[in-house]
């Protein structure tokens, strides 16, 4: 009986020692972490949000990191909604969103949040139609009726009217849309709501609206929509310009408010922003879909970085405003190669003023 008891005592001792060591380790951890952070002299910034500007943001962060070895910026693309949630709850140092925050969202945050526009993008219509080589042309009413389920066949007279020289097959149209909540969907439905009162009333503008039944199918993410369109004949769907160009999918010309069919080029997107730049409100966010002007692409949009006006941590705030400033100026040369459109000069100036207004402890962070 003696030996088993000794063993059991040894077990008990071991358990107690382990628990004690674990407890010590747990209590000691945060101390070590804190001292490591401040001692190293590096600043770490965490961003979260929209997936659409991810390629350009990652490029900026990597280039900026090469120039400033003491600043590390990480970006998680989990969607515009996640970006808004992250900045509201301060789980990230900055958020990113394609759609501006609503009044309600702003109220939920514990401080004033600024919208800093960074780049412009376009939502394009892409399709899979065998035997059609030249790009198709769509007027806004036709797009609305395809997504409302009123135009069901590819050889519908109204599609033919926009494309007189194309032989269209007598097949059913299958629309492909985003099943997950998405800033891209917000921009697309914002456009449809502007051009069609019926759409506005029946479906509306949202990141994840209720699509009319029987028009087609939903797919997750830009990649999901592209995969579905590539693999299913007679489909049509919307994705961000950069995705369609990279995958070499056909891109449709869309009739703008001046009656011209416009190709989604970077110039046409910047033109759409420039058209309404003079009317940009102080909050520095606006919808630029269905813009006026002869050469504007009608489904264009700003994308924004969301930051608190009052930064709690001066070192982090300083690094953040310097990065934002750099991305508007030196960072601009990377914008076009990543297939985004640069901001019009007026908006860059207004964004500069916004960045200059960011403070910490009552002092502006940028001198």
């Amino acid at each position: 009986m003696l030996i088993p008891k000794k063993i059991s005592q040894a077990v008990l001792a071991l358990v107690l020692v382990t628990v004690a060591a674990f407890g010590l380790a747990c209590s000691g951890d945060p101390v070590g972490k804190n001292s490591g952070d401040s001692g190293g002299g590096t600043v770490q910034l965490q961003g979260q949000g929209a997936s659409f500007p991810k390629p350009i943001y990652e490029k900026w962060m990597s280039e900026y990191g090469k120039l400033h070895a003491n600043v590390r910026i990480d970006y998680q693309s989990q969607g515009s909604g996640a970006g808004i949630k992250a900045i509201q709850s301060r789980t990230a140092d900055f958020g990113a969103s394609d759609a501006p925050m609503s009044e309600e969202d702003m109220k939920k945050a514990d401080g004033e949040i600024l919208h800093i526009p960074t780049v412009l993008g376009a939502v394009v219509l892409t399709y899979n139609l065998e035997g059609v080589a030249q790009p198709l042309r769509f007027s806004s009413e036709v797009i609305v009726d395809i997504f409302l389920g009123k135009i069901k066949k590819w050889d519908d007279a109204r599609i033919k009217a926009d494309n007189p020289n194309v032989t269209l097959p007598a097949k059913d149209i299958t629309a492909v849309y985003r099943s997950d909540g998405s800033g891209t969907t917000q921009v697309f439905t914002d456009y449809l709501s502007k051009v069609s009162p019926e759409w506005k009333q029946k479906v509306g503008t949202d990141k994840a609206p209720k699509w009319p039944e029987g028009i087609g199918m939903g797919a997750k993410g830009n990649e999901g929509v592209m995969g579905q369109i590539k693999n299913t004949p007679n489909t049509i769907g919307y994705v961000e310009l950069a995705y369609a160009k990279e995958q070499k999918l056909p891109v449709a010309l869309i009739k703008n408010s001046s009656g011209n069919f416009v190709e989604p080029s970077l110039e046409a997107v910047t033109a759409a922003a420039a058209e309404s730049a003079a009317n940009m409100p102080d909050a520095l966010h606006q919808s630029i879909t269905n813009a006026a002007g002869a050469n504007t692409y009608p489904i264009s949009s700003y994308t924004y970085i969301l930051v608190y006006k009052e930064q709690k941590d001066a070192a982090k705030g300083k690094a953040l405003v310097d990065f934002l400033w750099w991305s508007l100026h030196d960072g601009e040369k990377y914008v076009k190669e990543k297939l985004y459109a640069p901001l019009p000069p007026d908006i860059v100036k207004r964004a500069e003023a916004k960045i200059n207004s960011i403070m910490s402890g009552g002092k502006p962070l940028r001198q």
């Binding site: 005592q9 077990v11 509306g204 609206p209």
Partner: protein, 334 residues
């Protein structure tokens, strides 16, 4: 360390008559056993704690939606975040129907493979096939999903769905537009995913049936087919367990199904039409749901998935019980 110091006999006797924590916790009265038992008990309680906290957390967060829609949430067909109107029926329908399709295909297939591996195949063939089955069970679901979009969906669209519509088009099941994306494709990809799981478990169950039973059947003049039926009858409860395991995976599967089912919240008689599952709608919309009611509706739908899984397991347990009642000495999955 004080409790470990050996106590004088008199004192020990006195404390034994009073309450002794070592005796209360372990029949041997040993300190080590008592501590050991407490630790094991805490491990077991942790599981209970996790389940209870999950249910209460989800129920609490789903409260705004439960209060607003009540029981109508289960029967509502409308899912419209713009109008703040949420009904879960299309998702429940899609989850259940796709899982049923998966089982209809996967169960006979897995039984066939398992019976072949255990009863018929020579060892040098059985070994590599069994290895491949286990390999298939370990492939991540997103890989199945990609394969589903690029290979399975076009295959079904060109070679399977048109003949089905041609011969059985009079059934509402096979009417409508053929795109290769929809409830049927979702069910087929699930079948492919659960087949290895069911096969692997059934194989182990069949192998556990005593050889003496086969020998007895053969000695009575049974054919190989009749012997197999005896073995299957003996393994019934284990096989049912394997099917439940497969069903569990089918109901909870997210990525692969999302990629091929079409993600439209509708209830259609046609298997060619797109549908939506509970797990898919959660995965697709959780990160973007900023509105409180929307988020709450999504959490409630998660709660429903939880309850559906509970119910399926309960029904399966009943099934196993009804099959095994009266028979004894059967081989079990565990």
């Amino acid at each position: 360390m004080q409790p470990n110091i050996p106590t004088p006999a008199a004192q020990y006797g006195a404390s034994a008559r009073r309450w002794n924590w070592r005796r209360a916790l372990s029949s041997t009265g040993s300190t080590g056993d008592a501590v050991f038992r407490v630790i094991l008990f805490l491990c077991a309680m942790l599981i209970l704690l996790i389940v209870v906290s999950m249910v209460t957390m989800m129920a609490a967060n789903a409260m705004p939606s439960i209060r607003r829609f009540g029981f109508g949430f289960l029967t509502g067909r409308d899912w419209n975040p713009v109008a703040d109107s949420f009904g879960a029926l299309p998702f429940i329908y899609g989850t259940i129907v796709s899982s049923i399709i998966a089982l209809i295909i996967a169960v006979p297939l897995s039984l066939g493979v398992a019976v072949f591996l255990v009863e018929q195949a020579p060892r040098r063939i059985a070994r590599p096939i069994a290895f491949l089955v286990e390999l298939l069970a370990a492939i991540p679901s997103v890989v199945y999903g990609l394969w589903g979009i690029f290979v399975l969906a076009p295959f079904l669209r060109v070679y399977v769905e048109p003949p089905l519509q041609k011969w059985f088009g009079w059934l509402p099941l096979f009417q409508g537009r053929i795109t290769g994306i929809g409830l049927l494709t979702g069910g087929v990809i699930l079948a492919i995913m659960v087949t290895p799981i069911i096969t692997a478990v059934v194989r182990d169950v069949l192998a556990a049936v005593p050889v003496s039973q086969r020998e007895a059947a053969l000695a009575l003049g049974a054919t190989k087919w009749e012997t197999t039926r005896v073995v299957l009858a003996n393994a019934a409860s284990g096989i049912a367990g394997a099917i439940v395991l497969g069903l569990g995976r089918a109901i909870g599967e997210t990525m692969a199904v999302t990629m091929v089912i079409g993600n439209v919240p509708q209830i259609s008689a046609s298997l060619f039409e797109p549908s939506y599952t509970i797990a898919s709608v959660l995965a697709s919309n959780f990160s973007e749901a900023t509105d409180e009611l929307y988020l709450s509706a999504l959490i409630q739908i998660g709660l429903i998935l939880f309850l559906v899984t509970f119910m399926v397991n309960g029904v399966a347990k009943l099934l196993v019980w009804s099959v095994t009642r009266g028979t004894s000495g059967t081989a079990r999955a565990t």
